[in-house]
């Protein structure tokens, strides 16, 4: 069985600098409006009487049973054996059903081409043994890429699923 690949982000360590976003735009030649990884924040919040500021880089999580794939009327969305969910831009008819179906709101719409698009883990890079473009630019060193099982083992199920790690911080990575 092929191993599943994944991108894990430790939000506790994200500084919100937006570098991943720009690296992605450059690597994948994205137009304005299309943000395959987007640093989101709810701003400063008061949690248990303490102020908290968290940045959440949102991107496609390459779901194991992708809702986007299920609703695509023309079967333009496929999943590789390593888990990467791909949209065939030639097959896509721009109906936006996948955008509505995505539970994480991370599917993007390319206005120029009239097609849906999203993070594909820079498969063109990883197929050549490189990492996705967002990783090396990160000064927080909080974007990890690799086999999902190993990442879950190293960083924990909870962090993987929610993207959060409670109060514990991972250091020395």
């Amino acid at each position: 069985m092929t191993k599943k690949l994944a991108l894990l982000i430790d939000e506790d360590l994200c500084w919100g600098c937006d570098a991943c976003e720009l690296a992605c735009k450059q690597e994948n030649h994205l137009s304005e409006g299309s943000r395959w990884i987007q640093v989101r924040t709810k701003g400063v919040q008061r949690i248990n009487g303490k102020l908290k500021l968290t940045y959440s880089p949102a991107r496609c999580l390459q779901c194991s049973h992708p809702p986007c794939q299920e609703v695509c009327p023309v079967d333009a969305i496929t999943q590789r054996s390593d888990g990467i969910v791909l949209i065939d831009s030639h097959g896509c008819i721009g109906c936006k059903k996948c955008i509505e179906a995505c539970p994480f709101g991370v599917m993007q719409f390319n206005q120029e081409k009239g097609v849906a698009e999203k993070c594909h883990l820079c498969y063109h890079r990883i197929d050549q043994g490189l990492k996705p473009a967002c990783i090396d630019v990160c000064i927080g060193r909080c974007i990890y890429f690799g086999e999902m099982a190993e990442l879950v083992h190293r960083y924990g199920e909870r962090r993987w699923l929610s993207g959060r790690n409670g109060n514990e911080r991972t250091t020395g990575l």
């Binding site: 937006d18 720009l22 701003g43 102020l51 500021l53 090396d136 630019v137 060193r141 250091t171």
Partner: protein, 705 residues
């Protein structure tokens, strides 16, 4: 190389300069066109990381509105009509104008200027000093210049956080090193030090991500930093947490200093700063007891009437806790063996009689000693011809209409000045008013021995990888102009020759330098043990002999900001809030980059931070356009409600213009916070002339219509 180079694609190493710069990059080039920029994993400055601005550089370089050739004004000033001219015509015109003003009014009637500098500072000063003008208008009176000059008179050199020496406690003071460039090291090193477990104290009126990560956040009243630092020193002295051996051997004026500090007991400091007494004590203990410790300081504390004393009090904190020039403390990096920016600048060639004419030099004596002037004096010399007329302003990478205090006065002065030359990438609101506009080269279009003005111990190789239009590096332009102005014996025939001369002490040619990528000075700690500190007394002068000589208070003290609810109770009714300006976004560098699509997408509009309680009181909702007004002017920014700011404080962004809006204004009056700021000399730091951009009084209301 880590990337994927396509067919016929080359990967070249260089160093970015989209902000204050110095990050190593790999530039992909195909058929003379740059196609991609990546962080260089081998560069010790950034180790492969890069910021959004650096990555977006190519959208700047190949922007459709980029200036590609020189322009000469036709029709009235600011009329937006231009003739394309050649570089030869540029030089002829410049030589004739410069000679006309120099002969008619003296070289001092010509003011050179740069903003934060595009690593062209050394060339600009060399040109000005050879020309004989003492007037180079920089941001140095209120940004970095104060840190350097104050450090030099206090402890001989600028102490910088030694992240590689593993600090165990970092106190970030008035700086968001993650978001903006802290000049020496970048946010990466701070981030790595925290990941290794260093304690973090953050002093900031705003709750930044650094504050979120901190062990202690001191949310002080804006402008009271020196009081807070002296309060911490009070605790450190009272509880005998200072390094007695270091203090005994290496501090000059300890008794006088202790007497001064006694005036700042924590209860009083708490009243001044709004920081609870217990937190002041806690921070003082954490900083003094955790070793090594360093202070990551920034520009925010410099744009204040307390500029010099803010800096002096922070140096005092580092010094008395024994953290100067020790591993992981605040160190004096050893420069690499190259000619530094100050040497290249030929400051000693300026004749003494010309130096005496430096605008405001008699007023701001510390600034004068470091060849720095206060902008207000330039605008007055233009407008009122006092003490003498300024006829020509030559701005190289500067947009003062957006970035200088009292924008209305700046605008009037630039409108009046007889001959305005601007070298830049775009027709900015400032360039639109020029008589001559020069198309400046970006960092991708120039060769340079980069960052030799910094005090981080490196010289970095920047190489020309592309040519765009007729754009020319400011360095090359000044060299060619200098050669035509009778300065030939002090310049070189080509830029390459100049770069070889800068590198001469290292024995390298520029070509060989490009191969190795950077030079680093060999670090040595505790250098003072051998030769003392480079001050008149060879000690750390907490009691400053230089300040005393110039007639200033030799000891740091807190001055109430000139416009605050305490100093101006008469204004409270109409202007009930404290306004801080200049909070940094990741997308922009001061007035730059608002035309870059990928960056503008990150922040499409100017934001003003308001606490939800204050917003409710003023009838302002999230996302509303807000009118921000001070006693001097007003502008509009979008409301961003946040719990991260005190309800009594309003935080606005600076330098906003709208390149997409109609020329020649480009909407410069709409969101320009400098229409509200003051540049009256009485509100500036008395020794440095630092402009107070950070503490004003304002009111806010929803914009109607």
């Amino acid at each position: 190389m880590k990337g994927l180079a396509g067919q016929d694609e080359k990967i070249l190493r260089s160093h970015c300069r989209i902000c204050h710069g110095g990050c190593g990059v790999l530039v992909y080039v195909k058929e003379g066109r740059a196609t991609k920029i990546e962080g260089d994993p081998q560069c010790p400055i950034n180790r492969g990381t890069l910021c959004p601005k650096g990555i977006a550089s190519l959208q700047l370089v190949y922007h459709p509105n980029r200036l590609l050739y020189p322009l000469k004004r036709k029709g009235p000033k600011g009329g937006g009509q231009w003739d394309r001219i050649s570089w030869e015509e540029v030089y002829d015109l410049l030589v004739s104008k410069i000679n006309e003003y120099k002969n008619g009014y003296g070289a001092e009637s010509i003011v050179l200027g740069y903003g934060t500098g595009r690593d062209n500072e050394a060339f600009i000063y060399r040109f000005a000093n050879l020309l004989g003008t003492p007037n180079v208008l920089t941001a140095g009176h209120m940004c970095y210049g104060p840190r350097v000059s104050t450090s030099i008179i206090t402890c001989g050199n600028l102490p910088v956080c030694d992240y590689e020496g593993n600090p165990k406690c970092i106190m970030v003071w008035g700086n968001n090193a993650i978001i903006s460039n802290p000049d020496e090291y970048k946010g990466l090193y701070l981030s790595d030090a925290l990941a290794k477990g260093a304690k973090l104290i953050v002093v900031d009126p705003r709750f930044t991500k650094l504050a979120d990560r901190s062990d202690l956040w001191l949310q002080l009243r804006p402008g009271t930093d020196v009081a807070l630092a002296l309060g911490m020193l009070h605790v450190i002295i009272e509880e005998e947490l200072y390094d007695k051996e270091f203090v005994g051997n290496w501090i000059y004026g300890w008794n006088e200093f202790v007497d001064r500090v006694k005036e700042y007991p924590p209860w009083r400091v708490s009243e001044i700063t709004w920081v609870p007494e217990e937190k002041i004590r806690e921070a003082a203990r954490l900083f003094a007891k955790t070793k090594p410790a360093c202070i990551q300081w920034g520009v925010a504390i410099e744009q204040s009437i307390n500029c010099v004393d803010n800096n002096r009090s922070l140096i005092a904190l580092a010094a008395v806790t024994g953290n100067l020039d020790v591993p992981g403390g605040m160190v004096f990096y050893v420069p690499p063996p190259v000619m530094n920016a100050s040497q290249f600048g030929l400051h000693r060639s300026l004749p003494p009689e010309q130096r005496k004419k430096r605008l405001g030099g008699e007023v701001f004596k510390l600034a004068d000693a470091f060849a720095i002037i206060n902008p207000r004096f330039v605008w007055e010399a233009i407008l009122y011809e006092k003490p003498y007329p300024v006829k020509m302003v030559f701005l190289i990478s500067s947009n003062p209409v957006m970035t200088r205090a009292n924008a209305s006065m700046v605008y009037e002065a630039l409108k009046k000045v007889e001959f305005l030359v601007v070298s830049d990438f775009f027709l900015t609101p400032t360039a639109e008013m020029a008589d001559l506009v020069l198309p400046s080269a970006t960092w991708l279009e120039m060769d340079y021995v980069a960052e030799i003005w910094k005090r981080h111990g490196y010289a970095l190789a920047r190489q020309k990888v592309i040519q765009v239009g007729e754009c020319k590096s400011d360095h090359e332009m000044l060299l060619e102009l200098g050669n035509r102005l009778g300065q030939r014996e002090h310049w070189w025939p080509t830029l390459r020759d100049a770069l070889n001369a800068i590198l001469a002490p290292s024995g390298l040619t520029f070509e060989a330098f490009l191969e190795i990528g950077h030079l680093q000075g060999k670090m040595e700690y505790r250098k003072y043990l051998k030769k003392g500190f480079s001050t008149p007394t060879r000690k750390v002068e907490l009691y400053s002999t230089r300040m005393k000589e110039w007639g200033y208070d030799p000891l740091p003290k807190f001055r109430e900001p000139p416009e605050s609810p305490i100093s101006r109770p008469d204004l409270v009714k109409d202007y009930p809030y404290i306004l801080i300006t200049g909070m940094r976004p990741t997308a922009f560098f001061h007035s730059e980059h608002r035309q870059i699509p990928w960056l503008r997408e990150l922040l499409p509009e100017p934001l003003v931070e308001i606490h939800p309680e204050t917003a409710e009181k003023e009838g302002i909702k999230e996302g509303d356009w807000v009118v921000i007004e001070s006693p001097r002017g007003r502008c509009f920014q979008r409301a961003k409600l946040t719990l991260g700011i005190d309800p009594r404080v309003i935080g606005a962004q600076h330098a906003w213009w709208f390149p997409e809006k109609e020329a020649p204004e480009h909407g410069w009056k709409e969101s320009n916070i400098n229409l509200l700021t003051d540049n009256d000399p009485s509100t500036c730091d008395p020794a440095m002339g630092a402009t107070n951009l950070r503490v004003l009084m304002c009111r806010v209301s929803p914009k109607k219509d």
